[in-house]
C-alpha cells in the first residue's frame, strides 16, 4: 500500500521551480528580458515559500527532518538509513540547489543589462559597477545551477537503474514504504497559505525597489 511522502506544496513548488528556471534560461538566452525579470520574481516568491515551509510545513518538507550531519550521510552510504523523504545525501543536494538558486536570484535583483535598459528591482541599492559585476556573475553562476541539476538528474537515473523511481512519488506524492517506517505528517493548508502570502508580500516589496531604501520602475 502506498503512503504519502510529499505534500502538494512541496510537489507544486518543485515542478514550478523547475519550469520557471527553464523559462528564465530561455527568456535570457533569447533576449526576452522583461519575461526573464518576472520569471525571476516568481522564482523568488517560490523560494521564500519553500524556505518558510521548510520550518512550518509537513514533516518531509522540514529542514529539521532531513538536514543531517556527515555521520548520517556515511551511515546512509553504508545502507544503514531508514526513513522517508530526503535521504541524508539527497538533503545535501536539496540545500545546494536551494542555495544556488538563492544566490542566482540575489545577483539578478541587483544586476543591470549591459545597455542599462533592464535592471533588477534592487539595482538602486548598489553602484553601477556592482550592478555590472552582478550581471556577469548572474550569468556565470547559472552554470553552477546547471551542474547541480545535472547531478540531481544523474542521481534520479542511478536510483531508477536500481529499481527505485523518485519521479513518480514527486508527482503523485505517494510511495510504498518499508514496514515500520513513519509516513509523512501533513502540514496545515492555512499555514501554507500564510507562507505563500508572505512570499508574495516580500516579493512585492522587493519589486517596488524595497522602499524606503530604493524605488524601481518595472520594465514595460
Amino acid at each position: 500500500m502506498k503512503q504519502p511522502v510529499w505534500d502538494l506544496a512541496v510537489r507544486l513548488t518543485h515542478w514550478l521551480q523547475a519550469a520557471l528556471i527553464a523559462f528564465c534560461w530561455w527568456s535570457a538566452e533569447y533576449n526576452h528580458l522583461v519575461w526573464h525579470i518576472w520569471g525571476g520574481c516568481a522564482v523568488l516568491t517560490l523560494l521564500i515559500f519553500r524556505l518558510l515551509w521548510g520550518f512550518v510545513g509537513s514533516s518531509t518538507a522540514r529542514f529539521s527532518s532531513f538536514v543531517r550531519g556527515p555521520a548520517a550521510v556515511l551511515a546512509y552510504l553504508r545502507g544503514k538509513w531508514r526513513g522517508i523523504g530526503h535521504t541524508p545525501l539527497g538533503a545535501l543536494s536539496v540545500l545546494a540547489l536551494l542555495g544556488a538558486v538563492a544566490v542566482e536570484v540575489g545577483l539578478g535583483l541587483i544586476a543591470e543589462d549591459e545597455d542599462g535598459i533592464y535592471t533588477g528591482p534592487l539595482y538602486q541599492l548598489v553602484s553601477i559597477d556592482t550592478s555590472d559585476r552582478a550581471a556577469g556573475l548572474h550569468e556565470a553562476w547559472f552554470n553552477v545551477i546547471l551542474v547541480l541539476v545535472g547531478i540531481h538528474i544523474a542521481a534520479i537515473i542511478f536510483y531508477r537503474l536500481r529499481g527505485k523511481s523518485l519521479v513518480k512519488p514527486m508527482i503523485t506524492g505517494r510511495a510504498s514504504l518499508e514496514p515500520g517506517t513513519q509516513p509523512m505528517r501533513p502540514g496545515r493548508w492555512w499555514v501554507a497559505l500564510i507562507c505563500l502570502a508572505i512570499g508574495i508580500g516580500v516579493t512585492r516589496w522587493i519589486i517596488a525597489g524595497a522602499p524606503p531604501f530604493g524605488h524601481w520602475t518595472p520594465p514595460s
Partner: protein, 185 residues
C-alpha cells in the same frame, strides 16, 4: 529639418572620424535612387564604404568605446529616472553625450569592420545587402530618438524626458536584438 541636420553633421563626423571614406562603386550603381535618399542612407549607416585595415581597427575601437560610453550614460540615466530627486544636470550631460555619439555612429559600421578583423559584438548580418536598408533605418531611428530625448532634457518636464528615454531605449534594443551578439570581455 532635424533629420537633414543630423545627416549633415553625421556626414561631417564621419569624414573627420575616418579621414574620408572612399565612396564605393555600389553607390554609383544605385543611380535610380534620388540623391537625397542616397545621402540619407549614406549618412545613417555608410555600410558600403570600404576602409583599410588600419582604419578598420581604429573605427572598431572608436565604436567599442562609443557604445560603452552610451551604455554607461544609459545606466546613469536609468538610476536618475528611478530616483525621487533626479540630478537634471547629469541627465542633460548624458543625453547630450548620447546624442553626439549617435551622430558619430554613422561612421562606425563601414564594410570590413566585422569579426573578420577582430573581436566585436557586431554581427556579420549588418553587412548583408538585404539588411542594408533595415540597419540604416534602425540606426537613423536611434539618432532621431537620441536627438529628441536630448531636446526634452533642456526643458523641465520629467515625464516627457522619461517617455523619450523609453523611446530611445527601444531603438537601442531593436538594433541590438538583431545585429549584436554576445561579447564577453
Amino acid at each position: 529639418m532635424r533629420i537633414a541636420f543630423v545627416s549633415l553633421t553625421a556626414c561631417t563626423a564621419l569624414l573627420s572620424a575616418c579621414g574620408g571614406p572612399q565612396t564605393s562603386q555600389a553607390n554609383n550603381s544605385s543611380a535610380n535612387i534620388s540623391n537625397d535618399s542616397r545621402d540619407a542612407n549614406q549618412a545613417t549607416a555608410n555600410l558600403e564604404a570600404r576602409v583599410s585595415l588600419g582604419d578598420a581597427t581604429k573605427i572598431m575601437h572608436a565604436r567599442h568605446e562609443g557604445m560603452e560610453t552610451i551604455g554607461k550614460d544609459f545606466k546613469a540615466l536609468h538610476r536618475e529616472f528611478d530616483s525621487p530627486t533626479p540630478n537634471l544636470a547629469l541627465v542633460r550631460t548624458a543625453a547630450g553625450q548620447i546624442s553626439g555619439l549617435s551622430r558619430q555612429a554613422s561612421g562606425w559600421f563601414p564594410a570590413g569592420t566585422g569579426t573578420e578583423i577582430g573581436k566585436t559584438g557586431a554581427r556579420p548580418e549588418i553587412w548583408l545587402p538585404q539588411n542594408a536598408t533595415d540597419f540604416s533605418s534602425k540606426l537613423r531611428n536611434f539618432q532621431i530618438a537620441a536627438a529628441a530625448f536630448n531636446a526634452t532634457t533642456t526643458r523641465g518636464d520629467l515625464n516627457a524626458m522619461k517617455a523619450r528615454y523609453a523611446d530611445l531605449a527601444g531603438t537601442c534594443k531593436a538594433c541590438h536584438d538583431k545585429y549584436r551578439m554576445d561579447m564577453h570581455h
